[in-house]
Amino acid sequence: MKRSGIAFWTGAAIFLAAAFIMTKVVGNQYPFFAGYVVLQFVALAVAWSILGGYAGYVNFGTSAFFGVGVYSSVFLVKAFGAPLPVQILTAAAIGALMGLALGLLTLRMQGIFFSIATIALAIIIETAVTNWRFVGGAAGIQIQRPPVTPPFDNYVQMLFFVQALLVVIAVAVSRYIQNSWIGRGLQALKDDELAAECSGVPTLRLKLLACVISGALLCAVGAPSAMYLQFANPEGAFNLNYSASTLAMSLIGGTAHWSGPIIGAILLSTTQQLLTVTISSEVNVLVLGVMLVLFVVGAPEGVIGLVRKLRGNRKEGEA
């Protein structure tokens, strides 16, 4: 356990260092634009699977959290000209509160009802923002980037590094949860909530915790997006495609291990980036849907499950 911890943190440090060096060495701007999107989806998928994967509550409301992240940045910039770290932290705080509200919903509903409720949350918040004049309403709003902070010499490069940092934070949190009592408790309540409750697992507290953490991370990931696009509109920020992509990436990668969503997100969003450039953005949504259905039908455990099967150490309980 200890050794894997050292390996993990070394890997994370190397990853961040590589991302930083990349901003210094690579002159072309395109890798940062594309890389930002990939990293964003990695972070979203990892954050999503804390609730969706470990606890088994399918959250269709990724777009709600993402959009709230975007718009809390928009509001802070427009009202106070707040700097990026403040935007992200505020978004995380709001996301945690939203997560808490979502967690309270799980008290009364499970399965499909919970999922539908999360879509409802997304649409309701989107409608409210659409009617909020201060942040631009339905037409959207242009955002001016402030001058870039010193170690970086380009704003997109800085956002790229910030997103890399968010990825590391999300993965570290997810990994910690999986290896701690929280993860085991969530696993138990995923398998059988009633049985878990009866055996003394504090299911409510665990669910609230998972919702709060997942929500805070999802919102935080959305926050820099306003600066990245220099524009925000409700239709884009609350687009249900974020929910679909995140869900698909997590399930395709496999939710049994913290690395699953990372694999799924890298695989799918890189493919999508290539398809968007080479063919069209419609095709990439099609690929997303088809891959999701194929994996759910053919490889329910995702890439992780496939790899495990290939290695031969099949998990028990597959019957």
Partner: protein, 290 residues
Amino acid sequence: MDLLLDAVVIGVLLGCFYGAVSLGLSVSFGLLDVPHVAHPAFLVLASYGVYIINEHYGVDPLVAGLLITPLLFVFGLVAYRLYYETFEKRGSDAGVRGIAFFFGVAFIIEVLIIMQFGVDQRSVTATYIGKSLRIADMRIPYRLLVAFAVAAALTILLTLYLSKTFMGRAIRAVAQDQEALRLMGANPIKVKQWAFGIATAVLGVAGALLIIVAPVDPTLDRAYIGRTFCVVVMAGLGSMSGTLVAAIILGVAESIVLTMFGASWAPAVSFAMLLGVLAVRPQGLFGRRS
């Protein structure tokens, strides 16, 4: 005051229409417990089928809806078989993956429609579209009246089918106790497959109504996730007459919000009501489960 009366009348008509598009879901989700998130996508797909027939052969949209009904029935049979073989049969964890499956299917349908027809709105032509009936100061579009009449007829037919015919009763039996049906020597899966076929077939006429009432675009299904699920959950899973009543409540609420606060608030009404019902009275107004 007149404005409010107007809103209520339009709301009732609109509500009946919402009932018609929710009937299929009331069977598939309400009775069969299939997490059919793709129901609205199927509905929009049916509308495009109606659009093609109307555009090319000038057939009345309602007739066109009837024409594609057998096709949809078969489509439903196949879809349920696929769902059963891959999820229900395996049992474990069917919930999460079942939802994801239908979500994926909905997205595929959406994109295929976009690739084929583009993102523009499509509408149909018929003699009753575009004209209104005048009663005193009130103007009621004929298309809404047609939708209202057809919706009422469809609801009555389906209610009769489920309560009077042998197969209909079998469907309600399978919803109540699948194991008991198996012990009686019947095959519950066959019954459920048939029921899912019916639930999808109903979308032929419902899809026709959808494109009669307003132009249709590929992502319209997203708004109808809220409306159809709101209606079915509020009705209390699986009650046909309850579906109609719940739909009318939704229609009136939406119409009033539209009149008082403007169109930009309308999308939230169904979702907000859905959330409210789920939080306060999950068994619905006419729930079959206590």
